[in-house]
């Protein structure tokens, strides 16, 4: 890919060094995993190496759209004549990968899709073969782009990266046509499919590094689908829909969800115990509501996991548990022998836990 010569730096001094090496006016780009960096002031131009250092010292260590900037990319500036958008993404409704191209690059493609959908050219990729020369020639014909052969090379390369890395999105935005009459990749974004990480070990390692929340990091290590939300009611459920439904119900009862935690289908006792331990790491959690409707998940397995966890760590906050579905009688019998508070429905459970927290956990 024709990227600019540049280097990542993590201190203003290093930025100065890199900018001197480039020997031309540079652009300093904050390296954070968030879209819309430019608009938020995360991309700045510098005419001299000293200016680059000053710009970097204003960016490094400071938050940008909620994330702390720890590194910046220092690149030579390019003289842009035109900006394009080029991407490949999964089209859920068509069940295919689609190549997206627009002569109006630089802006967010979602915005363009709303304001001017005709400006985005789409080419659906064959599920079982790569693009051919003829596919791309036909697609680029009448689009009035400079150096179609050069662009075709970039498209081939992008498809190779997209398919090879199990991506669900790979986009170059902007793809610039410069005063030197060549294409340059100025910025790019790739989303890797979590479900394919087992065959993308390099990406799996990067994912661990990029997690910033300690509990989310621990959840990932334990292979638990967890998202921290900041409220006080810890939630465990099975199935994303039910967990979100439980969050909504807790919200309606006047509580705030501390997290999303989906033990998925067929959870064993160990996973439930692990999940419970994870929630107890969050100091904001004042009570826990476990809502299980067993299909592939067996209620007795879940109950066993809860009992194992309570035997291992002392739980000082109220816990409400609602079990329903596969092997519910066996599960309820196990819970009946403990001091856990049972609930017969999702609504009742949400109400109970919010009330118990309000009373101070007694």
């Amino acid at each position: 890919m024709p990227v600019l010569s540049g280097q990542v730096a993590d201190s203003p001094e290093k930025v100065l060094e890199v900018a001197r090496k480039v020997g031309k006016p540079v652009v300093v780009k904050a390296q954070v995993h968030v879209g819309g960096r430019g608009k938020a002031g995360g991309i700045q131009l510098a005419a001299t190496p000293e200016q680059a250092r000053d710009v970097a010292s204003r960016l490094l260590g400071k938050p940008l759209k909620g994330l702390i900037v720890e590194k910046v990319l220092v690149e030579e500036q390019s003289k842009i004549e035109r900006e394009f958008y080029l991407g490949i993404a999964v089209d859920r409704q068509h069940k295919k990968n689609v190549l997206l191209f627009s002569t109006e690059g630089g802006v967010e493609i979602e915005e363009l899709a709303v304001t001017n959908p005709d400006a985005i050219g789409k080419l659906y990729l064959d599920p079982v073969r790569f693009l051919s020369d003829a596919d791309i020639d036909a697609f680029l014909k009448n689009r009035n782009v400079p150096d179609p052969a050069g662009l075709k090379k970039i498209i081939f390369e992008l498809e190779k990266i997209y398919r090879g890395m199990d991506a669900e999105l790979a986009e170059i935005n902007p793809l610039a046509w410069t005063a030197e009459q060549t294409y340059k990749v100025l910025d790019a974004k790739i989303n890797i499919d979590d479900n394919a990480l087992f065959r993308q070990p390099a990406m799996a390692a990067l994912m661990e590094e990029s997690e910033t929340d300690d509990i989310e990091k621990e959840a990932h290590r334990r292979k638990i689908a967890y998202v921290r939300l900041g409220g006080e009611v810890g939630i465990i459920g099975n199935g994303a829909g039910l967990v979100m439904g439980t969050m909504d119900e807790v919200g309606r009862a006047g509580g705030t969800p501390a997290n999303f935690l989906d033990v998925g289908g067929g959870a064993k006792a160990e996973l439930v115990r692990n999940s419970l331990e994870l929630l107890l790491m969050d100091p904001n959690v004042k009570g826990i509501f476990i809502n299980i409707f067993g299909g592939i998940t067996r209620c007795d397995e879940v109950a066993r996991g809860i009992i194992e966890a309570s035997a291992k760590v002392q739980i000082r906050i109220p816990m409400v548990i609602r079990l329903e579905g596969t092997r519910v009688q066996e599960g309820q019998a196990l819970i009946g022998k403990t001091s856990l508070i049972p609930a017969s429905s999702m609504q009742e459970g949400a109400g109970k836990i919010v009330e118990l927290i309000r009373k101070g956990g007694k």
Partner: protein, 290 residues
């Protein structure tokens, strides 16, 4: 008679000798499903819950004339299992497996389509025809035979709602778990016409969730339905930009929000429930008005 399967439907189970496959085969047989065989490579000759095990789907189909297959194999083998079923002539494939890579599903969906088969799922609980048969993992004891059709993107939330309906004395016709993945074999738009034609179904409940545009896409079809449609969307308190579990539930770029889905459905004439617990009451009112 259900919209997709009934007591006569000849079913095989791929991954029948595994922990989940064998447990749920037993549950399905107990409910009344006609499980005629199973497939696990290398386990030919074994028997699970009375069903003979074969090495390949082709062998199973030749010996049992199976029409439907339920897949329980691990995620990394699921694409091949789906393709094998379609290529062996199975017309109704249900994939329970969760965590299948998206690019594998792009290929599987293509093969299924080219063979003229129907895929339900993946990452789905399967289907149930109340009082007749269940294909998948939906607990059978929550059903009551009746006249309400359900189609849902969420597994467990569907059990929740079916259970509430049964407790309120409202029976169901067919319940379809569409699955929670980004790429699904069957969507609301594929199921709605089947329910509209089905003489046993008098009203339809759709359960959607945040992410994607399947709910919005179904709106024009819902408008044409001759039967009342009741809807529920989960994930109203979910923040944007965060992926909720392995599911397709993620709000991106202002699209796929609970608000946009509820608005699209309300404009199409859907009675949208605010909580799952009020659904039985809404269904009763809708049926009384008919």
């Amino acid at each position: 008679m259900g919209i997709l399967a009934d007591r006569q439907t000849r079913v095989i189970v791929q991954g029948i000798t595994g922990r989940e496959g064998s447990f749920h085969t037993e549950q399905m047989v107990a409910y009344g499903t006609k499980v005629v065989g199973g497939v696990t490579p290398g386990k030919k000759g074994e028997v699970v819950s009375g069903a003979p095990v074969f090495d390949t789907v082709r062998d199973a189909v030749a010996a049992t004339q199976a029409e439907a297959s339920i897949i329980f194999v691990p995620a990394r083998f699921a694409k091949d299992a789906i393709c094998e079923a379609a290529e062996a002539g199975i017309k109704l494939i249900l994939c329970i497996t969760e965590g299948i890579p998206i690019q594998d599903m792009v290929v599987a969906a293509h093969v299924v389509k080219s063979k003229g088969a129907r895929l339900i799922g993946p990452n789905c609980p399967g289907i149930a025809t109340a009082g007749e048969a269940k294909l998948g993992i939906i607990p059978g004891n929550i059903f009551l035979k009746g006249n309400i059709g359900l189609a849902s993107r969420s597994g467990t939330l569907t059990y929740e709602i079916v259970n509430a309906l049964t407790h309120a004395g409202i029976g169901q016709s067919t319940c379809v778990g569409l699955g929670g993945d980004p790429i699904l074999g069957t969507q609301f738009i594929d199921i709605l016409p089947l329910f509209d034609k089905d003489t046993q179904t008098e009203a339809v409940i759709l359960i959607g969730e945040i992410g994607g545009v399947a709910e919005e896409e179904a709106a024009p079809l819902i408008r044409k339905m001759s039967k009342p449609v009741i809807g529920f969307i989960s994930g109203r308190t979910a923040p944007a930009g965060k992926r909720m579990g392995h599911a397709g539930a993620i709000i991106t770029g202002g699209k796929g929000t609970a608000d946009s889905k509820m608005k699209a459905w309300r404009e199409a004439g859907v009675i949208v429930a605010e909580t799952t617990s009020e659904i039985p009451r809404i269904v009763k009112e809708a049926l009384a008005k008919k």
